[in-house]
């Protein structure tokens, strides 16, 4: 056994050599920083450093779970994620199905490119556009609402009830097109013979989508769902800062903005590291849990 390992090493040494920098990269930049997590259990001060700061046990966590703010930002974070999961997750799938059925190649390319564009615009700019579009006095959306439907203008960005809707819609606007790429790739790998066979059996377009395309991308959907679950505790800082304002803070204050404010602006590193650790832990549990569920359904999970 020992001999064969050595033999294998010698035989593939160039391959192992090529792998080496990657291992070093992960060790140095992905694993060793995890050591810094210990400040979640310490009272970190600059002058004492990471190692020298005093241990405080679970104090930071006790403070965290005892604070009303924490539950508020946690609730907001989860709610926004549930919205964008429920509404936002199926959108790229539907889009990809539609795009897949477009037969005119040039038109398909054009639509695809137009759908990708928002992904490359920064949130600061998109936020400005969104606020202008939704303005109750000058925004297009409200002009249509008043003139076509006769509804009083709605101040979408400043109403706590509407803000999550605008937020979710803006996420879809920016990312849905980009999200179709993986699904389209998966669809391209479906055996065309299946479609031919089904046509001979008399299946229409909808039947084909239901019985061939969707099952064909099931694995991709499953993987992407698992990945998405990993970020259930995340809400993009940039997007939130660009869209939030004073009158919607009750629904718009999320973990990332809270960490930014309390941790970085007020130097409560230990406290916010505790929060970050908690966040990662939940993320991990969700990923492992969903992975297991998906395997129970007979799909291949991540591992």
């Amino acid at each position: 056994m020992k001999v064969s390992v050595r033999k294998g090493l010698r035989r593939d040494r160039s391959l192992y050599l090529m792998l080496f920098p990657v291992i070093v990269f992960y060790a140095l930049f992905k694993y060793s920083p995890l050591f810094g997590e210990i400040i979640a259990f310490k009272n970190y001060r600059f002058v004492d450093g990471i190692v020298g700061s005093d241990w405080v046990g679970l104090n930071n966590f006790r403070m965290l779970f005892g604070s009303a703010d924490f539950w508020r930002v946690l609730r907001n974070t989860l709610l926004l994620n549930v919205y964008s999961l429920a509404v936002g997750f199926p959108v790229p799938i539907v889009l990809a199905l539609l795009l897949n059925e477009v037969r005119v190649e040039g038109y398909k390319r054009l639509v695809q490119n137009l759908l990708y564009v928002p992904h490359f615009i920064s949130w600061v700019v998109l936020g400005g556009i969104l606020i202008a579009l939704l303005s109750p006095s000058t925004g297009v959306v409200n002009l249509v609402l008043t003139h076509v439907f006769g509804i009083e203008p709605i101040y979408f960005m400043a109403k706590s009830a509407w803000w999550p809707v605008a937020y979710t819609a803006s996420s879809i606007w920016r990312e849905a097109g980009w999200g179709t790429i993986l699904y389209l790739a998966a669809m391209a790998s479906i055996d065309p013979q299946l479609y031919e066979a089904s046509r001979i059996d008399g299946a229409g377009k909808l039947r084909q989508i239901w019985h061939i395309t969707l099952p064909g991308i099931r694995g991709t959907i499953a993987i992407l769902l698992i990945l998405r679950m990993g970020s259930m505790m995340d809400v993009g800082l940039e997007q939130t800062l660009a869209l939030q304002n004073d009158s919607v803070l009750d629904v718009a204050d999320v973990i990332s903005t809270y960490v930014y404010r309390v941790g970085l602006q007020n130097m409560n590193y230990s406290y916010t590291t505790a929060l970050g650790l908690f966040q990662s832990l939940i993320g991990l549990i969700l990923v492992v849990g969903v992975n297991r569920i998906i395997r129970l359904f007979g799909e291949r999970g991540l591992w």
């Binding site: 995890l34 002058v47 400043a158 304002n245 970085l264 966040q279």
Partner: protein, 533 residues
């Protein structure tokens, strides 16, 4: 694994960064060891008689150095400083808008510069409490000449430099143009057209705003005039009129009271609410965080009063280019229930320069001498440029010879004059401004605006807020809640009065531990009374 790391953010990223630097020992070149390695050879080729010590100083990167000039670390002025000053300085730029975060990371990784400076006294106090900077009383006493006598002449500076009874920073006085901060502007031509006077009381202010709204002065036949618009300074202006400021503590009968929950603050909220309810304030100010909308309304002649800062050149020029007949002039604060109060004026010290706790005595000595030199003579070329190349003296005022040349070659250099005696005088403005008619017209309005801004005293009972960790903790959680309540007061119509809103804010303040902080703040005041005067 990628997944698990992928779920992290914010604090975790920082934690990661911290430990990377701890493990990899962060190859920074501006550590404390630089003193030993310093030689005259690095002093620009000149054989110095005595080797100058190397020190490093933080600075803001405002992105103002054009590539032809080099960069913030190396350009004509850094070379000039090294040749003429008593020390060799390596500058450590941090991005202006995330300066504190970046400095914190540098400090945490052990790579922070010798001299660390910020405008924010609270930040310096935090660093002192964290042990990142050291007290300097004895070194100033021992090594300083210019700064020592400057401080003796301006004892009012002293309270700002002290933390827990010790001096932690050096600083110089701000010029009057940078003490003045907030300001209000009004369309004088609108007032004239309607036969109105500039408002001097709250009632008159409402009257003028209502008339502006009704009169359709841009004459487009639509009721689209918004009398009052503002940028992020607006709420501050409205509070200051009522002698309240959101982050300040006020002395009432010898007891400290937090501004944001005071009665004056409540009256100011009621004032803003009434303006909003009557449609006199921009109805969409809540989402106009970058003041794009306000600027657009103002420059297209759809607004009559702008609440902002005392110096708003581009607003003036853009308005004029759209409507040459427009007259935009500074509006003096009017009398409210609580008398006539000045708008926000910045605290008198300029940047606070503090000393890294890792500095050794010889480095401190070099730094103190460098600062002495900077305060004495070094700052002048850094602010004005070279005489007869960048400016010439006209009527005692430095007149810029070529604005474009000045902008590329001198504008950025002010960052290096960490302590200085620079001050503009209103009467210099027209000499200093470009000679075209528009610039000259603005120079006049600007001089007037500065005079107006300094005419009334901004109420500041104690030089700075208590530097208590409990307080900054509380403020971090309380402020967003208060902002939200205040937004509700103003925009919520009949759903919330100012009184009810203030009631709620005060409740939140107590819930978050405000009563204890009130007590601590007052103890702090009693302890530091001597230092504060």
């Amino acid at each position: 694994m990628q997944l698990a790391t992928g779920t992290k953010m914010g604090a975790l990223a920082l934690a990661a960064c911290l430990s990377v630097s701890a493990l990899a020992a962060c190859g920074s070149n501006n550590g404390a060891s630089s003193a030993e390695s310093s030689t005259g050879a690095s002093g620009g080729g000149q054989a110095a008689t005595e080797p100058k010590t190397e020190i490093s100083i933080s600075m803001y990167d405002r992105g103002e150095v054009v590539s032809a000039e080099g960069n913030y670390e190396n350009n004509r002025w850094t070379k000039w400083i090294n040749e003429n000053g008593p020390a060799i300085v390596s500058w450590v730029p941090v991005p202006r808008n995330e300066a504190q975060t970046k400095l914190n990371t540098l400090i945490a990784s052990g790579g922070a510069p010798d001299l660390i400076w910020e405008y924010d006294r609270n930040y310096i106090a935090q660093l002192a409490n964290q042990g990142a900077i050291q007290p300097i009383d004895e070194y100033i006493e021992k090594y300083s000449t210019t700064f020592k006598s400057y401080l003796a002449e301006h004892p009012e500076l002293k309270p700002y430099l002290m933390v827990n009874g010790k001096m932690y920073a050096v600083s110089s006085l701000r010029g009057v143009e940078s003490v003045a901060n907030a300001g209000m502007w009004i369309r004088q031509d609108w007032l004239d057209k309607l036969g109105l006077q500039a408002p001097t009381t709250t009632e008159e202010f409402f009257e003028v705003a209502r008339k502006f709204k009704e009169a359709d002065l841009d004459g487009n036949g639509k009721a689209d005039t918004v009398p009052i618009v503002f940028n992020s300074n607006g709420p501050t202006v409205m509070r200051n009129l009522f002698a309240a400021h959101w982050g300040q503590w006020y002395l009432e009968d010898g007891v400290l009271e937090f501004g944001r929950i005071s009665d004056r603050y409540m009256e100011s909220m009621a004032f803003q609410k009434q303006l909003y309810d009557e449609g006199l304030l921009d109805q969409e100010y809540i989402t106009d965080k970058s003041a794009q909308r306000a600027t657009q309304l103002w420059t297209t002649g759809k607004a009559g009063i702008f609440l902002g800062s005392w110096d708003m050149e581009s607003l003036f020029k853009d308005l004029k280019s759209n409507d040459p007949d427009a007259q935009m002039t500074a509006l003096e604060p009017f009398t409210t229930k609580f008398g006539k109060n000045g708008l926000l004026q910045s605290a008198i010290p300029n940047i606070l320069v503090s000393f890294n706790s890792k500095m050794k005595e010889d480095e401190i000595e070099a730094a103190v001498k460098f600062l002495d030199w900077m305060l004495e003579t070094g700052w002048k070329p850094l602010r004005y440029g070279e005489e007869n190349v960048h400016y010439k003296t006209v009527d005692g005022a430095p007149q810029i010879i070529d604005a474009e040349k000045f902008r590329t070659e001198v504008q950025y250099a002010k960052e290096y004059a960490v302590i200085n005696q620079y001050e503009l005088k209103p009467e210099w403005f027209s000499v200093m401004a470009a000679t075209d008619e528009l610039s000259q017209e603005y120079a006049k309005e600007r001089a007037n605006s500065l005079t107006v801004a300094m005419k009334n005293k901004f109420r500041r009972d104690i030089p700075y807020s208590p530097d208590l960790p409990e307080l900054s903790q509380l403020i971090a959680t309380f402020n967003p809640i208060a902002e939200q309540i205040e937004a509700k007061i103003v925009t919520g119509g009949s759903s919330m009065t100012a009184e009810a809103g203030m009631e709620e804010a005060r409740k939140e303040w107590s819930r978050l531990g405000g009563d204890n902080v009130n007590k601590l703040a007052n103890e702090w005041y009693q302890q530091n009374k001597a230092q504060l005067e």
